[in-house]
Symmetry: C2
Subunit: 314 residues, 2 copies
């Protein structure tokens, strides 16, 4: 299967009973500040606090009965791990989560809280993949990659589908880019629903591997990036990159200060909690590196998982 609008529509039907239909919020102070009409698709208000629950749910509910019985496995220390654990629990099947032993306690607790069966390993990509492979061979569980997976991409695309149902006359959609699951799903949905709609990606300057990949025409790996936007550290995937190349107009990089200022503004004015990765889409408007004046701009606020005891403006 190649992901098309039809797969995204099928995903939307499949996961509808399990996900939140998240609200689309507007804020006049934000509009005045940035000079566009902004429509915020609030995936920070999604279950587990991130859009990741859409893709994980679609992957889990796409399994055959036989596959489902053996469960799912992934390696992740982030929102995908929690999302997959909860989606699996809602389906009543096991989720095996490989996490590096240095992952923050709060993330270990969250995954365990959603019923994930955690296996710890050394904090290297090699150890994570070896450990995951071993579990896969032992259990027969299906691997659900955080973004380089067609069911996941289709699931993430359902956020843009809903956004365009609620606000059909958007001129532009902005989504953040890490591994590219959300961005590729968004761009397939947007192009399929509305010819000519512009899709723009937001990426931290300090983790600009997607920007450089677009320039180079091939995937450039992300090496130890140091941005506050900790959901956007990964490299593009072989499934997501070609979609992004074909359908995304441009990747706009944003500064750390722009991310933090945008994040605080949204907390203060819109009264919702967004994580730094989500703030990147606001930062694109905030820093005005491209001209979107007067346009109707949909932004996907990807998540809201932050440590309230360690805020970046403290």
């Amino acid at each position: 299967m190649t992901v098309t609008l039809n797969e995204i529509k099928a995903a939307a039907e499949r996961i509808k009973p399990y996900i939140h239909r998240t609200p689309v919020l507007t804020n006049e102070s934000l509009n005045q500040k940035v000079g566009s009409q902004v429509f915020m698709k609030c995936e920070n208000l999604q279950k587990v606090g991130a859009f990741k629950f859409r893709g994980a749910s679609n992957a889990v509910w796409s399994l055959t009965d036989e596959e489902a019985e053996r469960g799912v496995v992934t390696h992740s220390s982030g929102n995908h791990a929690q999302a997959l654990a909860l989606a699996a629990r809602m389906h009543g099947i096991p989720a095996y989560i490989v996490m590096p032993n240095n992952a923050p306690q709060v993330k270990k607790d969250a995954v365990a809280g959603y019923g994930g069966r955690i296996t710890f390993c050394e904090p290297t990509l090699e150890a994570r993949e070896t450990t995951m492979d071993r579990i896969r061979l032992d259990t027969g569980a299906t691997v659900v990659h955080p973004y380089n997976n067609e069911q996941v991409i289709a699931g993430q695309g359902t956020a843009a589908l809903e956004l365009l149902e609620d606000v059909p006359d958007l001129d532009v959609i902005i989504a953040p880019v890490g591994g590219g699951g959300l961005l590729s799903g968004t761009s397939i949905a947007a192009a399929g629903i509305k010819k000519g709609i512009r899709v723009i990606a937001a990426e931290p300057e300090l983790a600009d591997d997607a920007f450089r990949s677009m320039q180079a025409g091939n995937i450039i790996l992300s090496v130890n990036p140091k941005t506050i936007a900790d959901g956007l550290l990964t490299s593009l995937g072989t499934l997501t990159f070609p979609v992004i190349q074909e359908r995304v107009e441009q990747i706009v990089t944003v500064s750390e200060a722009g991310i933090i200022d945008s994040m605080k503004f949204i907390w203060e004015r819109a009264k919702i909690i967004i994580e730094p990765s989500a703030a990147t889409v606001i930062a694109v408007l905030w820093e005005k590196k491209i001209d979107l004046a007067g346009l109707k701009v949909g932004v996907i606020l990807s998540g809201g998982n932050v440590d309230l005891n360690k805020l970046p403006w403290q």
Copy 2:
């Protein structure tokens, strides 16, 4: 006029073009924690970050053309001042706001930012009322009291109206009580729409004048209360108290720790910013002083205006 469901419905039509239709959110972690099915009406996501914008808008848009020309006046240092200033600006009429000269700078800035014409006075009730009276006589502006005003009560009732449109089968609604504008409007709307629905109020133990007023059968004034819920410091009004006596089942008082714990839980799990006054309704469920197990409970999250640099768990 006595406020009835009809006035609330008329208010809803009148203010519809100006307010946000706020979302009703649910959160599975919260449901599990408290043992009820909770539906959160998010007035923290209302314009100016509080339900107060509903009442202020209804008051402003209920004026005759002649009255409107002369503007509105109030004394307030809280959310009502901002709400009235913005509502007046949207109508293109002046709003005179009397504020105590010791009000926090952030509140002065907010009112000025919404175009309110501020007059400062000594921080006593007498000075505030004298100053307001002088402005009223000078300008002919209409006084809009924060809660002891029928248009305001009708406006505040529209939040419950929308909540019951979205979730018609609620068993209970919980609203916070300060001056009683939101609570009286909520109870009129709820009783009018659904016979037998229970309306319960949340009040801080450290500002329990409404609780004591209900026990005594007459209004007991609030004297220098010291709760973190700074939106609930005022006494009941002559218009709100009789409605509350007639229609509210009981007032449940909550501890400061309950308020802070509930507030942090909502920030962490529901990813929305609520102020301590709004957290009181969650604290009623959290502290389980009354048995609402298994019921469908609507709660009105009254506002989200907090100083992000001074959080109560820091």
